[in-house]
Symmetry: C2
Subunit: 332 residues, 2 copies
DNA sequence: CTGAAAGCGCTAACAT
DNA sequence: ATGTTAGCGCTTTCAG
């Protein structure tokens, strides 16, 4: 029971214990080189017996790869990100990679530091969901395969969704339900994906109805005064929120001020975060397929790492309408 | 602009570029050993110029520590965990550690694998939120400093909350509001923390009122038939849910069946997950101080790592009542 | 098929 | 204060 801090056996020990050279031991353990069948089996047997485990760090110095990747996201407590993270972690594990995750707390400075820290740690690649559409990497990623998710940053491989189309889908749904006087609550305007969502929506609203208002709010359920004003005063029959968190804020504000959704005001969001199906009533929204975006990102990254393929690629995935209960059909 | 895959300069290159020995270079970079002020400055200056960065893997082989820790959680998409993860990551970063996060998808087998993978990767320590109260580590953690969070696993350092007291706080609040016929919806019964919550609640319910029912549900907003039955048939005036996710499921079921909260039924949860303040109405619950538990866990872990202190410790933190709007005061 | 030996990039005695 | 050098544990030529 004396849990002695026995240090892990080394390859050399394994070799001598098995009565072979370190080379053969290494071959057996890695399945590389050539070893006789019985020799290999014997070595592996001994390895099991003495509890041999490779030393990842030593291996990494030799082969120049660590079998790890970094994931950089702005804020894990934003319900948008955990499913991204989970998906990245799972996909990476499936390929034998471990994932360092860093949370930049929405700060571009922390983002720069996080990226540098990952590069220093020698990750083989990084999946990066930037705070904004600006390149805060400060050169740290120059020699680190990287794929950027959901933001447009020049010179990086990127995986995006067709945000404009998503905005159009949302607005079209509202139009088809008979709404004509529609408001837009955008998220932060300095984010391209957000501008595209709203421009897509705007396009169809202007073509088939009128824009009641267009205001901006942080990525938060807390609504800013201008937004509340718009909601209370502008007489829209429906509103498109650029992000579900904002839409949820709208639902909450409406409930607090005694208006019922969708009877008094229809609401449609964007992202389809997990909360959205749990709101009262459940939120109609646009699905951003984060899960598959993450999986694709990891796979693309691994291809880059392993084949060191150089071509910059950007892949665009599609969004889709998720029908729930916050959009009323207006009798015409 | 030719982004040549120039490999990172090595310590040797830095040394020769600066015209000193590798030892001096190493000393300068690490701030160890002794180097003349001007020499050090010169070396650091050259390092900056040529973009020298330590090779973490090589350093790790030498000093036997990687500056990393592992975090093992059951399910990142459960709203309970992201804030834990964020807190761990932030605290770890503050101490210069990187964090491998692994998601075990609630599977004990994946948990065993994850733990082994982390040990193999040579993490300096691990923060472990086990799926259940059973030790699935299969010895992988024998020589890895570990602190377990929110579950009781023998032979490990542990950080827990006073769940029984939390259960009592919840039930007391209900009793004080005048409720006498109270139901309990427990989470999975094979989890100690859950049994303690419910036993705490039960204790005060039995002392001051009557138990309308006691049923069990998974950690999910989806309610099982037995739970729905109990809710619909047992005539409780209030219910204690062992976890907020379950409480949210109750709110949803009640809304769907046209009963209003808290007028028709009072509900109190446990955990105070982020969603809880966004439900309609906002959920009264018991705060589990996950954020500080995580920070404490990391700090305890780092103490273990750095001082290799052996004493097993378990620290217990307190819960508190979070008053919101799902508990009605009954006129007596 | 197997082994001896060189060396990955780094740290830390041990000289000087 | 600075340099020389022996490894850390591993992979991988290169001989045999």
């Amino acid at each position: 029971m004396a849990e002695r801090p026995q240090k892990r056996p080394t390859l050399k020990e394994l070799a001598s214990e098995a009565g072979v050279s370190v080379a053969s031991a290494s071959y057996a353990v890695n399945g590389t080189g050539s070893v006789g069948d019985k020799t290999r089996e014997h070595i592996l047997e001994v390895a099991r017996r003495i509890g041999y485990r490779q030393n990842a760090a030593a291996r990494a110095t030799k082969i120049g790869r660590t079998g790890t990747m970094g994931l950089v996201v702005p804020d894990l407590t934003n319900p948008f990100f955990p499913s991204l993270a989970q998906s990245v972690i799972q996909t990476a594990r499936g390929h034998g990679y471990g994932v360092f995750v860093t949370d930049t707390e929405g700060s571009e400075q922390l983002e720069t530091e996080a990226l540098a820290m990952l590069a220093d740690r020698g990750v083989d690649g990084v999946i990066w969901f930037p705070v904004r559409d600006s390149d805060t990497s400060a050169g740290a990623l120059a020699n680190v395969p990287t794929v950027v998710v959901d933001r447009a940053i020049p010179h990086f491989d990127t995986i995006l969704a067709d945000y404009a189309e998503g905005g159009r889908q949302a607005a079209n749904h509202l139009i088809e339900a008979g709404h004509r006087r529609i408001g837009i609550i955008s998220g932060p305007d300095d984010i391209l994906s957000m501008r595209q969502r709203c421009e897509g929506a705007m396009e169809v609203i202007l073509a088939h109805g009128t824009l009641a208002f267009r205001v901006t709010n942080a990525f938060s359920v807390d609504l800013e005064p201008a937004v509340i004003d718009a909601l209370d005063e502008q007489g829209a029959t429906a509103v498109f929120a650029g992000a579900d968190v904002i839409a949820i804020g709208v639902l909450r504000h409406l409930a607090a001020t005694g208006r019922s959704v969708p009877a008094d005001l229809s609401v449609i969001g964007f992202d389809d975060i997990p909360w959205s199906e749990l709101t009262a009533p459940p939120l109609t929204t646009i699905d951003l397929p984060l899960h598959s975006m993450a999986a694709e990102a990891v796979e693309a990254l691994i291809r880059k790492i392993e084949r060191r393929e150089g071509a910059r690629r950007t892949v665009v995935v599609s969004t889709s309408l998720v029908l729930r209960d916050t959009v009323a059909r207006l009798k015409s």
